[in-house]
Subunit: 528 residues, 2 copies
Amino acid sequence: MKLDGVSFVGFGSGSPNGAAFRAFDPTLNATVEPVFISATLVDVDRAAQLAAAAAPVWAALSGAERNRFLRLVADKLVQHTAVLAARATQETAIPLARCESEIGRTAGPLRLYGEAAERGDWLDARIETAIPDRKPLPKPDHRSLMRPLGPVVVFGASNFPFAYSVAGGDTASAFAAGCPVIVKAHPAHPGTSELVGVLILQAVKECGLPEGSFSLLFDASIEIGQALLKHPLVKAVGFTGSLHGGRALADAAAARPEPIPVYAEMGSVNPVFILPGALAERAAVIGDGLHAAAMLGVGQFCTNPGLIVLQRSVPAEDFVRALTGKLTATAEGTMLTPGIRKNFAAGTAARTQQPGVKVIAQGSMAAACGAAPVWFETDAVNFQRNHTLSEEIFGPSSLVVWCKDAVEMRDVARHLEGSLTATLQAGKDETAQQGGLVAILAAKAGRLVFNGFPTGVDVSHAMVHGGPYPSTSDGGRSTSVGTRALNRWGRLVCYQNFSEELLPPELQNANPCGLRRLVNGQWTIAAM
Amino acid sequence: MKLDGVSFVGFGSGSPNGAAFRAFDPTLNATVEPVFISATLVDVDRAAQLAAAAAPVWAALSGAERNRFLRLVADKLVQHTAVLAARATQETAIPLARCESEIGRTAGPLRLYGEAAERGDWLDARIETAIPDRKPLPKPDHRSLMRPLGPVVVFGASNFPFAYSVAGGDTASAFAAGCPVIVKAHPAHPGTSELVGVLILQAVKECGLPEGSFSLLFDASIEIGQALLKHPLVKAVGFTGSLHGGRALADAAAARPEPIPVYAEMGSVNPVFILPGALAERAAVIGDGLHAAAMLGVGQFCTNPGLIVLQRSVPAEDFVRALTGKLTATAEGTMLTPGIRKNFAAGTAARTQQPGVKVIAQGSMAAACGAAPVWFETDAVNFQRNHTLSEEIFGPSSLVVWCKDAVEMRDVARHLEGSLTATLQAGKDETAQQGGLVAILAAKAGRLVFNGFPTGVDVSHAMVHGGPYPSTSDGGRSTSVGTRALNRWGRLVCYQNFSEELLPPELQNANPCGLRRLVNGQWTIAAM
């Protein structure tokens, strides 16, 4: 598969006149061929116009038709695993095996969300039949469901070149919900993005779907992303990345003449509370698990455990000593981009200067994009006093917060900002008493992990990958992973007194889609 | 029931030192006793602190307990109908009988949302049980549901002193979802607000609920509302009112250090498309219905039909002539406030000056707060050219838009901004051909009405009272009426690998709340 390096605008190509850029191999510390051409504002407008023209077609597709398309995309991804993984490894320094498995973990949601589209639970279809003789006024017939919002813009993420990028969870769930998608490719892996984009376009054509169902725009700067966000025909945005970037998008979207939702998954420190009983029972197991979770992907996972909260004691100090020994001995890894590596170095250097903060593990870093663990410790009082200590440092850096006792541990929990996850490690005998701490943490995170580690996000009906601000821009009202991810791309529409012929099939008496519907207060899959 | 005129801050009283104001009787054009005292910033902070302290208690209440509380509030409202309606009529000029029926229509949602809280469908409880031997990694146990956001601020509306005010739909749904509520009373009906607030506080105490479950703050200016919105402990806002006011709140909420959702129901023109066949079949019925809908509440309903779209023909001109004759003969009504009356006069005067716009009905207005119908006409080309013609004039004013043909009618439909409703009147023989127009309108409104009129909002499982911007601030992703209104006040939380003793009852194996849950992909009310 040859790379052309030009944006896909519907079935055509983007302008050849945009600014040129190249991908970068962080392992070799060198640029990679070919040249990619940034999209232009003309491309943005054309992509948005085509998507808006395709939107009514997508809104009218059955869930089964969307499922067919998504399965086809999934199949194509899996078929092309070798070439996709090879390019992604080159562009991101993510090991080949992890790229291969990430492709599988991208195909999974495409299939699950396709099934969810066909099953149609997310539509929340409801019917209240008429009561013509109701007093004082007749009750009309009301039937309602979720309808797709329209064109969605997805920003590819740096750290998951497949699962949160061109054909990732945001794209898959938006398609499943019936929305055309315009992807702004992440400039760190344009080649991978183009390869995936080609497969999506093939699937669009093989399914006979209209031009504008999908576009893919390249840009090494922020101009194209901003223009997409501000385009009046764009109706929603999905984003995974930094707090700075996500907040800027959310602010710009809120300031539009017509504000639109931005579902941004942003910074998260993912606190881990380790109770004394847990250490007494299984300090070594916890240490190994925490080390593995913190080093996964060179600490560049959104659920990276960035804050470890402990009560000071001799066993806890032994635990941290053993962990930091292991961290210091950990070989450096290669980060995703030189920019991320630079920010990691700057962030850890700045934290080193904070009063009351001590470096407790510092691996050695040699390679240009290399990063080794840099861990810190502070006490609970200092942590609560200094807001910068609540901020995420993206990469293999965590902060140990020492508490006097269980009361201070709860103070730290109450002080936390929002995270994607919060973890509690407890011993058998102390578990029953943790209701209060769990209730505090439930207000701080989208997923609470008990006696486990925060990394590893299952894609299922029950998963929640979201959380209070700043971990997401919408305060954790939605999830970007799991079948509830479809809900983000819909709005409610009610049909009053419509005859069968003008109702969408999902609301017709015959229930031709076989949906589970709330009919006069009872859930049923029966026809009427 | 004597009025004290001081805010309720938890179980205590607000500061006696705030600015004084009085209610106003629009019928008599005179102020009404007693004096009300505006809350202070100290009151705002105290109300927010108390609400935040009550929030964990509310989050832990069972749906059945919330239901009991909401039913009690409903019962108290109904018991005090006479005194409530009398004061509301005085403060709003809404006829006594309508005030009485509005109290019934406020008790209804309190009961329905209480039932919804107990039933718990809105929690969307989901369970995926563990698969320890899954390869390559074990599958953990995941259980998730909606949890209350925390303290909610509700802004009372001018036009529904009960149904969208102190104990109205926003308050009822927030309580049902498990959120403490702080109401900012609308300054146009402070006495009604206090009377209702007393009843809510009684119910809080009789149910043994904590201080901070409910507060009610008075203010004649915007300072207290802004301070509530910006308070860091406030987690969401409900608002019904003008586009100007709602957008200002949404903008301020988006600019907070921690942005919060604002569910604002704002301006809506509620277009009515009348096809030739409908006029041929039943011009008189449509004319009567449209007249009644447009005059309801002196045109001050959020679903007031503000835009009438017709194809020019002799029968259509006859139809409009008959309608305008009826409008001109309609006695003036008394508007809610002098300010609304002033804006109505200014809005209609400004529209009179627009090029290509003609006044087609103009009733006579004499009383200080009186308003009679002022209707306009223009053609489709002019309508699409002049954006001010798309703006709502709050009150008994509508704009007739003349189209050449069905094609131009669809152009007008495509040009529309978002509305709460869109109505289609069609004849029997032309109905089957309206799929295209219906699809366009489905992208423009939250509720589509077929061969009916937009006023009249049933409170049910299937109702949608929302719509694309500018009719709401969230683009129609939610509804402020119907059981889905609860969804606005929740966020998702997932529990991974938690033991039964630490899980909320809603997610425990035994299913003690009897919820319908999605267990391993199957909906069931069974225990596990």
